[in-house]
């Protein structure tokens, strides 16, 4: 009986999972290497605190893909309340002082958790891709024999 060559299926799956991993890597590391340090820098400002905190909030108001603001569990209620509070403050042009820093850090923490989740998912897809590459190479070798 002729052996069925599954290498094409393995190749397509390996490439697809690798593509997903690359996209997730870009999303995760853009936040980890660019957005989060920028927010941390703004939150550690010693002068123009209100202006810098507002800038930090505007960055944080655009959520990380894996840490959106649409759904909240019991733990996330404080994030929801913080968003309502800061939206109102920024819209009304009110100052944001150092007493509110902890709530901005809460939003940053949520973004960081989203980045870690994205990175871990990327690793999962990368491992999956590597496994399919290995199976693909194995299949090619056995079909040549």
């Amino acid at each position: 009986m002729k052996k069925i060559d599954d290498s094409k299926i393995y190749l397509i799956t390996a490439v697809t999972t690798l593509a997903v991993a690359v996209i997730l890597a870009v999303v995760a590391y853009y936040s980890i290497l660019s957005v989060e340090p920028k927010v941390e820098q703004l939150l550690s400002a010693k002068d123009n605190i209100s202006t810098n905190y507002k800038k930090a909030y505007l960055i944080l108001r655009d959520p990380q893909v894996f840490a959106g603001y649409s759904y909240f569990d019991a733990e996330g209620v404080s994030v929801k309340n913080s968003l309502a509070f800061f939206d109102k403050r920024v819209y009304n042009g009110e100052e944001i002082d150092t007493n509110r820093k902890a709530y901005l850090e809460l939003l940053l923490e949520r973004r960081k958790k989203g980045s870690v989740l994205t990175r871990n998912t990327m690793v999962f897809f990368l491992v999956l891709s590597l496994a399919f590459w290995a199976v693909f190479v194995q299949e090619r070798r056995s079909s040549r024999r």
């Binding site: 507002k54 505007l58 108001r61 655009d62 959106g68 603001y69 649409s70 929801k80 309340n81 968003l83 309502a84 939206d87 109102k88 920024v90 819209y91 042009g93």
Partner: protein, 164 residues
């Protein structure tokens, strides 16, 4: 052939974008409506002043309702008994826009509502006011006549730039 695929992909992305932009959840009911009707005399004529306090909730995370205009509708079944116009400049995400409306009506205009709320002219005049804190959802609702949906980030960025 390649150009055609790119065009198709772009149309699909734009289409999906439009669908998602239009997906903001619109408010469906009023929050804790309370009202007061009191007789007032204006130019030696008897009128009735209706003061209404209620709220409209924005349950969206990223959409602000700007220039929200509409009518509070008192109804008896499907019959409209009375309408009160309202306007809210903005309702931010996860916030409740507070409506404080006041309007003066003639006796013939207000009495159907007074009856709907289980009172009558004599009782209202004797007690000098009719107040209700709990109004059955069947008897009160609202209709939106205008509302602009804006992304909260755009609203906040505009405000910050306006101040600078």
């Amino acid at each position: 052939m390649k150009m055609k695929s790119i065009k198709t992909a772009l149309i699909a992305i734009l289409g999906a974008g439009l669908v998602f932009t239009g997906c903001a959840k619109m408010p469906e009911k009023l929050v804790s409506p309370t009202l007061k009707i009191e007789p007032v005399v204006k130019d030696n004529k008897e009128f009735y002043k209706l003061s209404l306090s209620t709220g409209i909730q924005n349950e969206n995370s990223d959409t602000a309702f700007v220039d929200l205009k509409g009518l509070i509708v008192f109804k008896d079944g499907k019959t409209r008994v009375l309408t009160v116009p309202f306007h809210l400049p903005i309702v931010l995400p996860f916030d409740t826009g507070i409506i404080e409306a006041e309007k003066t009506f003639t006796e013939s205009e207000i009495m159907p509502l007074v009856t709907l709320l289980g009172s009558d002219r004599e009782k209202l005049l004797n007690e000098k006011a009719l107040e209700r804190s709990f109004i059955d959802e069947k008897n009160i609702g609202f209709e939106l006549t205008g509302c602009e949906k804006k992304n909260i980030l755009d609203v906040l960025k505009d405000k910050v730039n306006e101040k600078n």
